[in-house]
Amino acid sequence: MKKLSFSLSLNRELILPVFCLLTVLLINLVKTPDFFDISLTNGAYYGFIIDIINRGSELAIISVGMTLAVSVSGGVDISVGAVAALSAAVITNILSGGEAAVNELHAPILLAIGAGLFSALLCGIWNGFLVARLKIQPMVATLILYTAGRGIAQLICGGQITYVRVNAYRILGTNFGNNPLPTPIYISIAVMIITGLFLKFTSFGLYAKTVGINSEAAKLAGLNPGTIKFIAYIVCAMLAGLAGAIYSSRIYSCDANNIGLNVEVDAILAVILGGNQLSGGKFSIAGSVIGAYTIQALTTSLYAFGMPSAHMPVCKALVIAASISLQSPVVKRLLNKHGKKYFKTVFKTVFKEAAGV
């Protein structure tokens, strides 16, 4: 009985994020009829929907980490884009042996990716240390790497774009073997499953919520809020590092100026679109992931409409403003109060019309 009510409340939380995503997709059904077509080209699935799931992978991965960081600390980690760039710089420069452009590998790929993730881990330790131990506000603490991270990445790349023109390195960003789905999709699903299992089978999720709701009370209850925050920031940075590896594999190079540029803003937005509060506490990973794909669906849809480049930011802003205000407490309350009656009338009329036709 207890379990049932839990799953019901979870579903109710996810209604609005799912509604936003479906609205964006449904507009496409009208504007671009072949939006949902998926064909097999060169042994790989090909279509707008695949594009959304594929291109949204990095943002989804980063949003998972961001949700944890937001939940425990009630603040945001704005260094994720820079950490992604740093990780990409480390990976490509180990693979290229420090050269600006290479056609063969100078180190095993797994070693390089390991080193990239290790650099992300160091960033996470640094952020976690500032937030959890020195109790600096998360946004201020992560501001340091937000500014310095990209600088360090530039330094590693020697101010150039490092190219690794080896097909083996492109696997992470394209398809592996004869697999018809792009690799980033698998990686993001793996990240979600692992995080889901981790939260389900350990008490970390509960601890994180507790610390996020009231750090002092959590302490009195015998938890160590510092450690929980520390872990959350490390996970967030590591996932950003993983996203960095995918970003760089897609373009088989490291463009330290542009990898993960402004992704922190999108990740925070994904967390909000997912129905999470930026003040911390309760969180829904699934909501954030849906939020991330909503943002990507919006971008891909606008491309599919053939929207002129200059108009795109305005359109995006309008949709996002609408989605966020839909989830504001005031609107939610109004919806709860009047929504049921209103929707009932709407459904009735629609059914009557349909029956009439």
């Binding site: 600006a100 101010g159 463009d255 542009n258």
Partner: protein
């Protein structure tokens, strides 16, 4: 105790990283020393790309002591406040000429006025400023619109030589919206498409990056099955576009009759020219960073009491590995096309 020691260690590490990353704005030269030399202060944007580094090296070479110059070089590290400070320093050191590669267009009136009050001629290079023209002596930069016109003229000439009679279904992958390179190259594209009756399928921004270029092109290919020419406004976008075309199961190449998609690109970076040499990019139009010689001759002209034209453009080349078109004509003027070989590529400084 442990925490505190760790804190100290980490802060120390950060300090070292920050110091090595930022450093102080680098200056070389010892101010005004030898009277026989012409002292020139040069404030550069930074060293953000190999294009910029080539520009710096070219100026340093041209303004060497053997050539009769004493160059004071200041790297602004992409911050305008560093650049304004550098100009003030140049004025207080009483240099003979000031050369600025402005980071931003606005906010220059005060510094330029100070230089003009001190009677020091200022030459602007590469980028433009929106200050009053009387405040600087001359400006030299790239003619982005001409670059675009040359690329379009090349395409027209190439298709005529191929005696291609079919429809030209062209896509423009623009640069960052608002950038002067995007404005110039897009305008040339629009004009040419109208003039030659090309069918423009899409015009969207790839933000001058490979990742965006690829993402935008993926979407365009899903909407339009008949793309046969792509006009990429820089090399990075061209790489992304190439990957998108190949993953859509189409071919990039010069043979439009056989359904291959032609790529045009700009900037002639080393990576871009490598792709031009192997035929992926049909023609690559240069954006020349080698301002050194021109600037030195401009300063020499002023030194001899001559006057300079207010706005001039640097000469820019065009490269293709295809030998069909040897020259292009834009507005009645003929520009030669360099046939790219490995030797030419190896000799280029950037």
């Amino acid at each position: 105790m442990k925490t505190r020691a760790l804190a100290a260690g980490l802060w120390g590490l950060l300090a070292i990283i920050l110091l090595s990353a930022c450093g102080a704005p680098a200056e070389t030269g010892e101010g005004v020393s030898d009277d026989s030399l012409i002292t020139v202060g040069f404030s550069q944007v930074g060293a953000e790309s190999d294009w910029r580094t080539s520009c710096t090296n070219s100026v340093m070479e041209a303004f060497s002591e053997e050539n009769g110059f004493n160059l004071i070089f200041s790297d602004a590290q992409q911050k305008q406040e560093n650049q304004i400070k550098a100009v003030r320093d140049f004025i207080s050191q009483d240099v003979d000429y000031i050369i600025i590669d402005p980071i931003t267009e606005s906010g220059w009136d005060q510094s330029l006025k100070e230089a003009s009050d001190a009677g020091i001629p200022v030459i602007l290079v590469d980028r433009a400023v929106d200050a009053d023209e009387s405040l600087y002596t001359a400006a030299i930069g790239s003619d982005f619109e001409l670059e675009g016109k040359k690329a379009c003229a090349y395409l027209k000439a190439y298709l005529d030589k191929m005696s291609y009679k079919g429809e030209v279904n062209i896509v423009d992958i623009q640069g960052t919206i608002g950038a002067s390179a995007t404005i110039g190259r897009s305008k040339a594209f629009d004009d040419a498409a109208k003039k030659y009756g090309w069918n423009v399928l899409a015009q969207e921004t790839g933000e001058f990056t490979q990742a965006k270029g690829q993402e935008v092109m993926e979407s365009i290919l899903k909407r339009h099955d008949n793309v046969n020419v792509v006009y990429c406004e820089n090399d990075n976008e061209a790489f992304g576009v190439r990957d998108a075309i190949e993953s859509a199961g189409k071919k990039v190449g010069n043979n439009i009759e056989k359904g291959e998609i032609i790529l045009l690109s700009f900037d002639t970076t080393r990576a871009g020219l490598t792709e031009t040499l192997n035929g992926t990019i049909l023609v690559n139009t240069e954006c020349n960073p080698l301002y050194g010689e021109r600037l030195a001759s401009m300063v020499k002209t002023l030194e001899e009491g001559g006057t300079l034209e207010k706005h001039t453009y640097i000469d820019e080349d065009q490269y293709s590995a295809n030998e069909l078109v040897k020259s292009v004509t834009v507005d009645g003027k003929t520009y030669p096309v360099t046939i790219l070989t490995q030797e030419i590529l190896d000799e280029r400084p950037y």
